[in-house]
């Protein structure tokens, strides 16, 4: 035991660099996996936790008038109801920014169902009638703290100053800004004062169901029962989907990288352990001659190499935890996936090092028996190559590369897998760049949305058209439409006219060209289970809307559940005057500048919103890609060190012979570098090819499942790929060069074999 520990310590000390590399690689992979698992799990977690904590409602109904709650409660499957609460739309003015909000009247006694859980401060109190409680994500987005003053403007234009008394969590709706308007709770009396006009407010009722799966059925009943009253219906599924928005994409990306990375890392570890064992066969035999048993040697190797893996796991868990904690701000890292990842990785690591350990333990205890590389004869090709006077270093090195088949394969494959992932990472990067460089390809032809605030819509349009950077001005409106069969609301975006259609990026089918035609995102097609060419029946505020879907667009918003059509396809009451003007800018124009100019020209009379590019929302992916590329490079490096150490070991005794044959030190060095170089080039090229082959499909697949739709992927540019390949091969050769140089210069004893 002690003797074994002594040996392990000495061996680890002798290959500190490699050991460190192994630990770091495994740590990086484990951190990525944990982050991925938490992101994927956490995508649903905030909702699940919040829903349980707040005793949330499964179904929310917005109605024009106060509904008959008793009747709603009697629907089969409804357990409890909450509300109705009166809710009025207001605009919050905070630090010169305007944010849409809903003031919801709530009693002093928090309700049983869907009760907001106060995170900071306190709940509403009659002693402070001006106080409000703000939903947490909204408060954070606006920078509101306890005691902050909130200026709200009602539809009438009247301003009221309210004070934040509490900040609360709620599962009533998604997080701001993914879900608008933001949510503010006030006392009913205060709401009556801010918005006395009943016609400008709506009533919100929540239903808690006995079985969440019955939501669809119940919501249909509700829609039938309330009929024209219904403004908007949404279910817990939409709330959950809204809460997990970006995490899911990130999580999927990380999980993909993590799992493939784990495979690569384990291969690297197995390769490293195997290579080390191979180069230590003599030492192992010596140990056996001293009295180490087969089991002891196997245990020794397993402990040594396994310990590196386990240390990596131990080091990877806290960063993984920390990242999720910092990025997601959740204190609850799910324990089950964490344990599964830790145990799974440990198992895989032990299996990976177990095989070489077992092989090492079977070394005969005769230390004198040299572990020679398998002999190979010069192939006909090689002989031909020598005949036509190719440099001998090239021929010999290329032959050496394959003299050990399994390590050669592990090396090439071990480099190919990280390279493939790096290529995929570059593809994601290129796709994000594509989003930024061509926002019109993701449906963001209009870079600014102008809402007439104090001006008339015509004035706003005229002002916008006068700006030199503005290419075109599209009228637009967004309404919620009920899908009768589904009994839930979707977003209908009307922008441009059928005559001068807004250039939606249609990737399938065609653009709408007439009234009654529309294009939809993948998410909507999936939701309604319709195909291009199908007709859909919707209801917008009681008015039926029948459109034929003639094409599919790339739709980055709202999980792709958006129907886009021309303004003239909607009823006049919804679009005249237009709710906003979408401004398409001339190429090269800076949206921020145009915005400032328009604001100045209108005397702050306009509300101008910059369209947020999805790439900006996904900017964190770039950080992830860089970090993962670093980890993958470590894996590649680990493989390379193994290959080069093994190559040196196999050829240490040949060096003298090669020199005796008349090869110069430089040629000897070239032979050694060539031996690993061939494998490097093979692995890198194969990995890049495989990566560029799958990357577009993968991104489009992700796009499809996330509702954005296929057609967003951009392959990495040939230049980018060429640079990546050159950098990888160059770095690899540089790494192989150092030991080769040392070996070529060293005096090699011809004895000992």
């Amino acid at each position: 035991m002690r003797a074994g520990l002594r040996w392990i310590r000495a061996d680890l000390r002798a290959r500190r660099g490699q050991a460190l590399l192994t630990v770091l690689t495994i740590a990086g992979i484990v951190a990525a996996l944990i982050t991925a698992a938490t992101l994927l799990e956490d995508g649903t977690n905030p909702w699940r936790g919040l829903f349980a904590e707040t005793n949330g409602a499964h179904l929310w109904i917005h109605t024009k008038d106060r509904p008959q709650v008793v009747a709603l409660r009697q629907i089969d499957g409804v357990e409890q109801a909450t509300g109705p609460y009166r809710s009025a739309p207001v605009t919050v003015l905070q630090e010169r920014r305007k944010a849409p909000a809903a003031l919801r009247a709530m009693p002093v006694a928090a309700p049983e169902v869907a009760r907001p859980v106060v995170a900071e401060g306190a709940w509403l109190d009659r002693a402070q009638p001006d106080s409000v409680v703000v939903e947490r994500s909204f408060a954070r987005a606006l920078g509101l703290r306890l005691g902050s003053a909130v200026t709200v403007t009602a539809l009438s234009g009247a301003r009221h100053v309210l004070y934040v008394r509490g900040i609360a969590d709620s599962a009533d709706q998604g997080f701001y800004p993914e879900w608008t308007p933001g949510l503010i709770w006030v006392l009913p009396e205060k709401l009556d004062r801010v918005e006395p006009e009943l016609g400008r407010s709506e009533w919100v009722t929540g239903l808690r169901l006995e079985d969440p799966e019955a939501t669809q059925f119940v919501s249909q009943r509700v829609v039938v029962m309330l009929d024209e009253e219904v403004q908007r219906v949404y279910t817990w599924r939409e709330v959950r989907a809204a809460m997990e928005l970006d995490n899911r994409l990130l999580g999927t990306l990380l999980a993909l990288f993590g799992i493939v990375g784990l495979v690569a890392a384990v291969l690297a570890l197995a390769n490293a352990a195997g290579g080390r064992v191979l180069s230590q066969l003599r030492d192992l035999a010596t140990l056996k001659s001293m009295g180490f048993t087969r089991g002891q040697v196997a245990g020794l190797l397993l402990v040594e190499h396994g310990a590196l893996g386990l240390l990596g796991i131990a080091l990877g868990v806290p960063p993984g935890w920390l990242v999720t904690w910092l990025v997601l701000d959740t204190t609850s890292v799910a324990l089950v996936p964490l344990l599964a990842i830790t145990a799974g990785t440990a198992l895989v690591v032990l299996v990976a090092v177990g095989v070489p350990a077992w092989r090492g333990s079977r070394t005969p205890p005769l230390p004198a028996a040299p572990a020679a590389p398998p002999r190979g004869r010069l192939s006909r090709l090689a002989r031909l190559a020598l005949l036509v006077r190719l440099p001998p270093a090239l021929v010999l090195g290329a032959r050496d590369a394959f003299s050990r088949r399994v390590p050669a394969f592990l090396t090439a494959f071990g480099l190919a897998v990280p390279m493939m992932m790096i290529t995929i990472g570059l593809g994601v990067w290129a796709t994000l760049d594509g989003f930024l460089a061509h926002p019109e390809q993701v449906g963001q032809h209009a870079r600014l949305l102008v809402r007439p605030d104090k001006l008339t819509p015509e004035q706003a349009k005229a002002l916008s058209e006068r700006d030199p950077a503005v290419l075109q001005v599209y009228p637009g409106a967004e309404v919620d439409a009920l899908v009768p069969g589904e009994a839930r609301s979707i977003r209908v975006r009307a922008i441009g006219g059928s005559a001068s259609p807004y250039p939606f990026p249609v990737v399938e089918g065609r653009m709408y060209a007439d009234r009654g035609e529309a294009v939809a995102g993948q998410g909507l097609l999936d939701l309604l289970r319709v195909k291009i060419g199908d007709r859909v029946w919707l209801s917008v505020g009681g008015t039926p809307l029948i459109v034929r879907i003639v094409g599919r667009t790339v739709e980055p918003d709202l999980d792709g559940q958006v129907l886009s059509l021309g303004v003239d396809s909607l009823a006049a009451k919804d679009v005249v005057p237009p709710e906003f003007w979408g401004l398409a800018l001339k190429p090269g124009a800076d949206p921020a500048e145009v915005r400032d100019r328009l604001l100045a020209a209108s005397g702050e009379g306009l509300e101008i919103q910059r369209v947020v590019n999805p790439a900006e929302r996904l900017a964190v992916i770039r950080v992830v890609i860089v970090a993962l590329v670093a980890v993958l490079a470590l894996i590649g490096l680990a493989n390379l060190l193994t290959a080069s150490a093994l190559g040196l070991r196999d050829h240490a005794y040949d060096l003298a012979v090669l020199k005796a044959m008349g090869l110069t030190p430089r040629q000897v060095m070239a032979t050694l570098v060539m031996g690993t170089g061939v494998l490097v080039v093979l692995g890198v090229v194969a990995g890049t090819a495989a990566g560029s082959f799958v990357v577009q499909g993968l991104i489009d697949l992700q796009g499809h499942t996330s509702g954005v739709g296929a057609g967003i992927a951009r392959p990495p540019s040939p230049l980018m790929l060429a640079v990546a390949v050159l950098v990888a091969v160059g770095a690899a050769l540089a790494v192989a060069l150092i030991p080769a140089r040392r070996a070529a210069r060293a005096q090699v004893p011809i004895t000992a074999r």
């Binding site: 000495a10 061996d11 056996k288 001293m290 005969p364 205890p365 005769l366």
Partner: protein, 243 residues
């Protein structure tokens, strides 16, 4: 007392299904405190024999008795346990563990045999002191000369106080000065009562032993005790007698 006994020991290698006999029926008996040199030309089977005696190689048939217990039927692990306690090996190419220091190399067998770190350290200090290697204790094997390495290997072989020291061409890779040093040490160890079986093809090396066993084509062709008259004070040197 007999430390080592072999009865009709045979080793036949299989080379591409062609049997190649290396050792052909060796009967050998080594008593406690004896220094036996096994001599013979290359390919005479002497290394194979000594490897079998230490359990590094398996026998084809015949018996090996160590300290009165039969050893040839032992499993690989049991042989390892036996080696730990009773056998020390010195090889031609030293076979020091490259990643360990001199101190660790020497302490390893003692630790393996179950000595406490303190005991192992004391034993190591004693041995390295006796072999004149005290100042190289933290060096790596690669930093040592061949003679130094072989002395370390000898110290390592003696670290677990073996009842049998097996040496396979211990001077085969050394120059004459280092050969002399190593032989002097072996002689000293022998004088302290260590049983030694040494394989060599060098008559000068063999001349140091009490008894020389000559091997040819895997069979013992000669087994003779060397009687040496004690040289007198300022005497004329040693006279070797083959009986």
């Amino acid at each position: 007392m007999t430390v080592l006994k072999t009865v009709n020991l045979v080793k036949i290698y299989q080379n591409n299904h062609v049997p190649v006999p290396a050792v052909r029926g060796v009967d050998l008996q080594v008593d406690e405190g004896e220094f036996v040199a096994i001599m013979g030309p290359s390919g005479s089977g002497k290394s194979t024999l000594v490897h079998m005696l230490g359990g590094l190689d398996s026998r084809t048939s015949g018996e090996i008795w160590l300290d009165g217990k039969r050893a040839d039927t032992l499993s690989e692990s049991a042989w390892a346990l036996l080696r730990r306690e009773k056998i020390g090996f010195v090889f031609q190419f030293f076979n020091l563990v490259a990643s360990m220091t001199v101190a660790d190399n020497v302490e390893l067998p003692a630790l393996l045999a179950g000595a406490s770190p303190k005991e192992a350290r004391e034993r190591r200090e004693y041995l390295l002191d006796a072999l004149g290697l005290t100042e190289r204790v933290e060096a790596a094997p690669a930093q040592l000369s061949g003679g130094e390495q072989q002395r370390v290997a000898l110290a390592r072989a003696l670290s677990n106080k073996p009842s049998l020291l097996l040496a396979d061409e211990p001077t085969g890779n050394l120059d004459s000065r280092n050969t002399r040093d190593v032989l002097r040490l072996l002689n000293e160890v022998h004088r302290e009562g260590q049983t030694i079986v040494l394989v060599t093809h060098d008559a000068r090396v063999a001349s140091l032993a009490d008894r020389v066993v000559s091997l040819l084509d895997g069979q013992i062709v000669d087994d003779g005790k060397i009687v040496r008259r004690r040289p007198g004070r300022g005497g004329a040197g040693e006279v070797i007698d083959l009986r």
